[in-house]
Amino acid sequence: MHTKHALMVVGLLGFAGLALSLYLTVAPNPGFCDITSFVSCDRVLTSPYARLLGIPTSLYGAAWFAATSTAAFLPVERRAVLGFIKGWSVLGLVGVGALVYVELVLINAVCLLCTVAHMLAILVAATTFLFIR
């Protein structure tokens, strides 16, 4: 994949992640997301870990995806953008790792919609490191 196309993919993945994170921030918990007591958005999103410093955790995700998408679409000097996206992807992967740890170990429940957002972040990082030169 050409870098130009890879940046477009990163931008679109970032936009999808932004939409999902904003949905998780403002919309009610959808019923389909609560399947068992372990697979439950409700348990995760109403847990004490659903907020960090009084701000919904999903809003941090939204900010990460917004910055990713903006950087990928920004028509500026390529090298600076690529450097930013690579560093930002590492930060995103660390964040995803921390959130998965919180879900599995501290809350003992998994939120399906959050997992989709984590997958999008991983896809952003994978596209960045595999195709952006």
Binding site: S37, A50, A67
Partner: protein, 189 residues
């Protein structure tokens, strides 16, 4: 000479995500959603503390009633209080267990359910009451004021309150029947 139309550039596209984020942040600042988590600065009850009194409207299978229910914690009887939301699947899972608990302890323990009004309506809550055949007192907390007073972070949450009004147990999430029965036995002994 025809006017040159401005083209939608990459800069415009790049600005959409940050603009969207900014709009949502402004919206959340201006109209923050009701919070299920414990608010800072609000005195909440913990095990061993005194349960706060409250007054709320009753609700049953027919809907919200005008009748007010006044809860006085030091009633001289053990109280089992259940905080729930009609949309919460764990509350639905627990309904048969609470019903069994009521069948076995209803004569010796006062049962009260506090149904929250977050992302729901009295009508939907009345459906839940009908569906699960809840026979004890249910009150409706539209603004989650009692939820916040009791420090309820999620549903279901159960409180067992002693005859002197002290909180003997606070249990969060789904619980096996045996655990709840054990706590009630302890409170009654």
């Amino acid at each position: 000479m025809p006017k040159k139309r401005k083209r939608f550039s990459g800069t415009h596209l790049a600005l959409i995500p940050v603009a969207l984020l900014a709009v949502i942040i402004i919206y959340l600042t201006v109209a923050p959603p009701p919070d299920l988590t414990t608010k800072t600065g609000v005195q909440t009850v913990e095990q061993g503390g005194l349960a706060p009194p409250f007054t709320l409207n009753k609700i049953d299978g027919n809907g919200l009633r005008s009748e007010r229910f006044e809860f006085s914690p030091a009633s001289g009887r053990v109280v089992f209080m259940d905080f729930l939301h009609e949309w919460c699947p764990h509350c639905g899972n627990m309904a048969p267990i609470i019903e069994r608990l009521y069948s076995n302890y209803g004569g010796r323990v006062v049962f009260i359910s506090v149904a929250g009004g977050y992302q729901t309506s009295p009508e939907k809550t009345a459906d839940f009451i009908r569906k699960h055949n809840i026979r004890w007192t249910v009150v409706y907390d539209p603004q989650l004021e009692v939820f916040n007073k009791y420090g309820v972070r999620g549903t279901p949450t159960y409180f067992i309150i002693g005859p002197d009004g002290r909180v003997l147990a606070k249990l969060e999430g789904e619980q096996p029947y045996e655990r709840l029965a054990q706590e009630l036995e302890r409170a009654l002994s």
